[in-house]
């Protein structure tokens, strides 16, 4: 049984077809690393999964909810599918704890006290217990991104989508974020990560997906795929990045 099932999804922006029939099956506990050149459709695919983008044909079912245009129960879907962005997108007028508490209190109608306890728990998990009452502007990029992860975790998602979440960070801050993600993977969280961190994709991923020109060009077990890429495109890509 797959937790996320993507069937022959096609997506165009105007005349520009960005996803040209993508199919993927993601099981509970999978850590899927999506790699590929800029513009190959990685972000678009991720954004289709939680309904930030609509697609023209095919189907996506996530946690039993069909993601299909206007009729989708987006609220229910997004309660179970979290997303972390490259630019963190923390709410600057709220403290770290308030950022984390917002969705549980507003969407799940959890009491302030309970939400605060959850915030303390998830912020501790990302190593930021001391920063609960700090505003985003008082935090480093790595700390902000960890708050963003905690903010998603507070909703207890079944799947977490991560779109290049270390790409906007200074190199010395990348590892603190990757360590958090690795910890989540070890705890069995289902993760779909778009990433340029090849070593991380190989060591932590359970599945590697190489996207090229809007298609899944190659996929498999990360260590095997990296050791012996079958297609010239992936060989070239790994040669350039790795």
């Amino acid at each position: 049984m797959s937790l996320v099932s993507i069937r022959d999804v096609r997506k165009s922006f105007g005349t520009n077809e960005v996803l040209k029939g993508v199919s993927l099956d993601i099981a509970k506990g999978d850590v899927v690393a999506i790699i590929g050149r800029s513009g190959s459709g990685k972000s678009t695919l991720l954004r289709c999964i939680n309904g930030l983008e609509t697609y023209q044909s095919g189907s996506i079912v996530a946690d039993g909810i069909e993601v299909a245009g206007a009729a989708t129960n987006l609220r229910e879907l997004r309660r179970h599918v979290g997303m972390v962005f490259q630019q963190f997108n923390l709410f600057p007028h709220l403290t770290a704890a308030e950022n984390v508490m917002l969705a549980p209190t507003v969407v799940n109608k959890v009491s302030k006290a309970e939400a605060r306890a959850t915030a303390a728990e998830v912020l501790a998990k990302v190593g930021l217990s001391e920063k609960m009452d700090a505003y985003p502007s008082e935090l480093s990029g790595g700390q902000q991104q960890r708050v963003a992860i905690a903010r998603s975790l507070a909703m207890r998602p079944k799947v977490l989508l991560c779109d290049e979440i270390t790409s906007a960070l200074d190199p010395e801050l990348v590892n603190e974020v990757l360590r958090v993600v690795e910890q989540l993977a070890r705890e069995g969280m289902t993760l779909i990560l778009v990433t340029h961190e090849m070593r991380f994709a190989r060591d932590v991923g359970t599945k590697l997906v190489f996207m090229h020109h809007g298609k899944v060009h190659e996929e498999g077990v990360p260590k095997e795929v990296f050791a012996a890429p079958r297609t010239p495109e992936l060989q070239q890509f790994v040669g350039q990045v790795g």
Partner: protein, 216 residues
């Protein structure tokens, strides 16, 4: 023959000024509420609501306020309803104010980065919840200066209510001029009072605008 001293003129003008202030406050307050509702409609991504607000805004921004006052004062009377100058002025100024405030505030909402919408969407917040908890708290900070700046236009706009017979500062000035034949004195005082009402507001608006620019 009645004699008006300088102090008589001034005190009469100041009494009428109260009505200018009251009308401004009501127009601004009610216009703000209507404007906020329109803002939700205008940014809702629901085509019908967006079109309605667009037409509403085009109408009230694209026609003279004076014509709108006439429309409310004489227009509604055509349907057999008695409309006092006071009610007509309040209604026209409220709608007129709301159209401008909606546009000012829409600009502030659109200045909030797209990532804030996407992050709050991804957390399962509804549109109203996003506005309430994420977008408006940030947009309202940048909205203060242009909103205060616009309040000056509302105060000056109330002068037109004199034409449909509402006795506020301008109308009182006209009446005092007719009684005293001292137009230069009377209208200088009227202008001075408007200036005293408006200048602190525009000064304040400039000041907070400057402060925001420094912070950026």
């Amino acid at each position: 023959m009645l004699q008006f001293s300088f102090w008589d003129i001034l005190s009469n003008l100041l009494i009428a000024t109260q009505w200018t202030i009251v009308l401004s406050l009501i127009a601004f307050f009610c216009g703000g509420i209507v404007g906020l509702i329109l803002l939700f409609m205008r940014t809702s991504k629901i085509a019908a609501l967006e079109w309605f607000t667009k037409i509403y805004i085009e109408f009230f921004q694209g026609t003279p306020l004076l014509m709108q006052l006439f429309l409310f004062f004489f227009g509604i009377a055509l349907f057999g309803f008695e409309v006092s100058p006071w009610a007509a002025a309040t209604l026209a100024l409220t709608f007129w104010t709301s159209a401008f405030l909606t546009e000012i505030w829409r600009g502030c909402v659109e200045a909030i980065p797209k990532g804030q919408w996407e992050a709050s969407s991804s957390l399962a917040l509804s549109y109203i919840e996003q506005m309430r908890y994420v977008i408006l708290p940030q947009a309202s900070r940048i909205a203060v200066a242009p909103t205060v700046g616009f309040s000056v236009q509302v105060i000056k706009g109330t002068a037109l209510a004199s034409i449909i017979g509402f006795v506020e500062l301008t109308k009182a000035g006209t009446m005092l001029n007719n009684a005293t034949f001292r137009p230069f004195l009377v209208y200088s005082l009227v202008a001075l009072i408007y200036f005293c009402l408006c200048f602190p507001l525009s000064w304040w608006a400039k000041k907070i605008e400057g402060r925001l620019n420094v912070a950026r």
